[in-house]
């Protein structure tokens, strides 16, 4: 019911050339809250795995709430230094040795309106340049539109800005000859969001087909039991990975008080076997989907 309502809203866009995943691809996914929260629901990641059941594709979600192309959310104690913030994002991405990078920015920057556009474009270009050493295939995602929500003003004005930033992202993609994935679809369902700007669990589920579409991936039966098992494994993997790459108590583990309790940082590497184990589970379940 929810899904069909969402389908009805799908605007016939120009046909999307399928993004070609390769066996063994490692996808690093960077962006703000939209990306960060996806990891706890896993619908989109699972949709892509399900669309390529014979390929081993691993995802590492590096989303961070409030982030921008300037990596403003990542500086921690160095928040005052734009260079150090930016370096964090680049280092975090490079460390994963990705073969594919999903770049999902523009929403937070769009509050600056038209005046902020040049700064955003420059920042995006700088980021893409800095990620070049990976030789990864890069996908630039547009923002999602805001929708009406109780207690909030009409999203018309912010959406005009979001379109503007979406267009700018598309232009950068075109210029560089890299893939642009358009997410500017209005789900229009009140359950898909409760603050007008972030998807709820239901929202991620409902949006999954459009997300697959944006990359030209075939839609699968997202309600099947097999899919659900796979998604649970994806979420479990994401939780272990999150606890590894963004552990609590970083001040003591790796930060400026590591001389006190830094010995506990040895536990960080101990997450890896757990991540590998779930990843094996994901591979098994993925193959099940083909049957």
């Amino acid at each position: 019911m929810l899904l069909s309502a969402a389908f009805a809203l799908l605007i016939a866009a120009e046909p999307v050339k399928p993004f070609e995943f390769k066996d063994g691809d490692r996808v690093a996914w960077i962006g703000g809250t939209l990306v960060e929260r996806e990891q706890r629901y896993g619908h989109w990641e699972t949709a892509l795995i399900a669309a390529n059941p014979d390929k081993n594709i691993t995802f590492r979600n590096l989303g961070w709430s409030g982030d921008t192309v300037h990596a403003e959310s990542r500086g921690r104690f160095d928040f005052n230094s734009p260079e150090k913030c930016f370096k964090q994002l680049v280092d975090q991405t490079l460390a994963l040795k990705p073969t594919v990078i999903f770049v999902s920015y523009g929403t937070n920057e769009s509050f600056e309106g038209k005046d902020g556009l040049p700064k955003f474009e420059k920042g995006l270009e700088k980021l893409l340049d800095a990620l070049k050493p990976t030789s990864a295939r890069v996908v630039l995602f547009s923002p999602l539109p805001f929708v009406k929500a109780a207690g909030l003003p009409n999203p018309r004005a912010p959406n005009a800005n979001l379109s503007l930033y979406g267009d700018a992202i598309k232009a950068v993609a075109t210029k560089r000859g890299i893939v642009f994935a358009n997410l500017m679809h209005n789900l229009g369902d009140t359950e898909s969001t409760d603050n007008g700007i972030h998807l709820t669990e239901v929202g991620y589920y409902a949006f999954a087909p459009f997300f697959a579409d944006s990359l030209g991936q075939p839609r699968r039966d997202f309600s099947s039991e097999k899919f659900e098992l796979l998604r649970k494994a994806v979420v479990a993997k994401n939780e272990q990975f999150f606890n590894k790459w963004r552990p609590q108590n970083e001040t003591y583990l790796t930060g400026f008080r590591k001389h006190e309790q830094g010995k506990n940082a040895k536990e960080i590497a101990e997450f890896d076997p757990f991540i590998s184990k779930v990843e094996e589970e994901i591979a098994k379940l993925r193959k099940e989907l083909k049957k």
Binding site: G66, E72, L152, I197, E250, E260
Partner: protein, 1153 residues
Amino acid sequence: MRTYTLALLFALSPSLALAQPKAIVPDPDPELERKTFTVAPGFEVTLWAADPLLAKPIQMNFDPQGRLWVASSEIYPQIKPGEKANDKIIVLEDTKGAGRADKTTVFADGLLIPTGLEPGDGGVYVANSTEIVHLSASKPGGKADKKRVVLSGFGTEDTHHIIHTFRWGPDCRLYFNQSIYIHSHVETPTGVKRLNAGGIWRFNPDNTQLDIFARGWVNSWGHAFDKYGQSLATDGAGGEGINHVVPGGYYLTSQGPHAQRVLHGMNPGSPKFCGLEVISGRHFPDDWQGDVITNDFRGHRVCRFKLKEDGSTFAAREMTEVIKSNHPAFRPIDVKMGPDGALYIADWYNPIIQHGEVDFRDPRRDKTHGRIWRVTAKGRDLVKPPKLVDATVPELLEQLKAPEQWTRQQAKRVLKERGADKVLPELEKWLSDLDPTAADVDQHRLEGLWLHQGFDRDLVLLGKSAVIAKKAPLPEFTAAFIRIMATSTADKAVRQSFVEKALQSNNARVRLEAIRAVAKWDTADAATIALAALDKPMDRILDYALWLTIRELEPYWLPEFQAGKLTFGGDAKKLAFALNAIGNKDTIKPVLALIDGGKVPKENVQGLYLLLAQIGGPEELAKVLAHAGRESGSTIADRAELTQAVEDAIRTRKVPAPKLTTGLETLSTDKATVVRRPAMQIVGLWKLKELRVVVETLATTKAAIPADERGAALESLALFGDAEAKKLISKMCEAEQEDEVCRVAIIALASVDLPAAIDHAGRYVAYIKKADPELVDLFAAIINRKGGATALAKAIEGKKFQSADVAKIGLKAIRATGQPADDLTAALMRAGDLAAARKPPTEAEVKVLAADALTIGDAARGELVYRRKELQCIACHAYAGAGGLVGPDMTSIGASAQVDYLVDSLLLPHKAIKEGFDVTRVVTTDDKVLQGVKVREADGVLVLRTAEDKEITIPVKDIAERSKSTKSLMPEGITDQLTKQDFADLTRFLSELGKVGGNYAPSKARVVRRWQVIEPTQANLNLFRRARVSAAAEDGGAFTWSPAYSKVSGDLPLAEQPKFTVWNDTAAQTVLRFQLDVTTAGAAKLKFNAVAGLTVYVGNAPIEPKAETLLEFKSGVQTVTILIDRSKRTEDVRVELEDVEKSPARVSIVGGK
């Protein structure tokens, strides 16, 4: 080994009987714990809930049904690899009304260290690491099966800092806090909200509106609202006691655009506090109403403070504890009033607190226990818990009149959740039907207005009906009303008229709210409106509030002002305030116009010149100096402040020399050193040829002048940097000069000709016999320059020092700079024949030393060790707010720290550095290395507090390299010279500090602890001879004073104080002074332990000291000077401040360095 230490601790503790002698942790029997409680007279404590009903409570809050919701974590401090997050939300109920929980329900699990919770909106809001989730159950009474992420992006850099202290405000908004290490980035429909340090957030769940209610604090683990909606907060690390929160205000350790000025708590020198609640309701006696309760979780105490009005803010005074205990695991961390009018205390129950200092996986960490204690008044009826959830809307509205804040607040929550459609029509009727003559009608109206605010509806109707029904509402009501009105959707004209009227109120709190109310209006005229506050008396908080408002509104009013559209009514005082507040270089012209216009009130003139020094270019600085040089009517302090400001401006902003200077010559020969010194630096910084002779003369004079004075002249000369200057300075470094002269000359030479300075230094340190502590500056002057240490090592190679102590001072200098200088270290060891470098102690050695402290250590002797001049403990570590700020306050260290931790900290200061005391190391573009604890960073400058407790200002653009040092500012090896007995005594003393029931327990007595004393220097004696000894009481900055500190008992040992005789055959004298901060004028008492030999002045007026001396104080900082005839007194000096009943006076003792 650690268990052994702990067992020893018990062996010496009076609670021995409670602990199994060989146990690792105390016997967890709650009754044994309860028996350790000393309870306030007239009260009793009973166990309301204990493990296994709950474990490890972090925060608790009641729901309207009277159920207690508890956030609990067994994962804290850190999840293990592969572990599934499974922390819980527990609901406790007393279903039988027996005064004890009999039912526990796990409402939710699968959480990661939930540090805060608040029931509401059909479920519960929970802090879940990076996010706030709302959990709810589809079936009433069931377990949570729905989880909604409400906000996300909160930092997790430290698990006792992550978001906490959830509270519904009286305005139906959700307030929650984060601590200092947390960096949060939260997306909301109006953009990303970022907070990169501690602070209090305010959240409206109805529209995802999020804003920062106040900034700062280290661990703001307490926040409560009084009955009129004023916010109070406590800090679990800051040590300033109860804070009165000004909306939007910046407090200790703030980050943000206006962080250069911060507000402070009301009780500096307090131990660290956790949780906060305001006493309200019929179960508690009248004299407890409105008192605030917080927990000294380190010292095992539940504390009570009484608040009194003090201008626009409050004064908070500590009363007898609600509970004090010596049970090592009693950790009161949250406190809440309950539905029955009793007070509930969450006891985290753990022998180990926090995880910065003790290993995450330390086996002594308790993971299974937890208690809720209930405090009741003996012989007083409990309140019948109100029935709220099933009540009708009119019944609930009547509950808004309840005497218990608990009931009013919960009734409001139920009404809010019934929805605007059902409630608003009834609410409006209820408000207009209120009897304006009823007692407490203001309170009732306020509750109604807050509920109305919760629905976010237009407030216009209130303007005509209920609000103005009563002619003269209580000022507390008006203050709260202004806050509600200012942010409402009411018409701007309506809001403005209320604010303008409020600014003319005779009540300072009302004016405070009005000043802050307009800060968010984002218009130019809001600044004009706010500045009307200057037409009425100001106090410190009002001054801050207006400063902040004007700064926040700068983007709106400054362009208008520059365009000539805004004039502040031509009022020079208002304009001066506004320009001073923003300190913006674009305002030089109007500042000049104000000064030249001559219409500014006299008291603002100094401020304007100071501003000009801060923002002006060469000609403006010349103008400031010309003004300061016109001595007529200006005080030494004023001249010193302006001259120093000019020096700072030249150093930090690199302002070049003006075409012409007048006044500087007068200043550089001023009678006060504090003026001369910066004046001479200016001469050098600007290379002023015409005044060079002044500094040259002083630098090279044969006369005996103080070394630091000559040093200043030499440094000034060095700034000229030419061959002639080098030659003159080099000459003063020659061996035939006095040792002191030579020392300051080498220091000066190091800045212009490092190799030559090192040559001289290599020779000098070898032959000098007397190891003055000031030698450390000479070493530092060389080591702090790139390559200096290595070159000095070469220069002293093969030499044997006359004094081994000189080599020790060199090592101290190396440690203080925090730089690796292995070659110099080795060279100094050889030159001084010092033993091989010390090795870090082994665990076994620490164990032995910790055991020694408890077996042979003597705390009284230890205090004397602590006070020794060569150790300098107090210079860095204050006790009860008196002393240096370089390291943490020691007031309750013994109650919180294990003995092995104390031993470790003495021997290896860097092993565990208290939060907020980490060291920033900076290399400047001219290769100087500086380090210190960051005080603030704002306006393009970084301010560090050095190991010498000096604040140094570094322009950010001069910083080439910046890092966090892993070293502590506390030098290593400081205790190396102590004997085994000394060390045991010192450790024992520290371990006793703050222990309840002991000789060093925290005291509520307001004793003078921080003194200043006149040293018998030649300059001071000359001043006495020229005038008379009592001139010390009239000091305008001429005398130099040294700090002195009372013992923990409050006594200042007189025998330790310097004495002098002015003329031959006269009695030896000692001159002491201390300061009192009087925020509201009136009568107060000073109590002297004995008056023999004392002559006392308040300001320059003599008073007659008596055992109890009643005094009338004017407002402002008052200095009390005491002359002591040492022939008539040998007794120590103790002065205590006491309130006089019914006196309006608000007086506190000035602490610090």
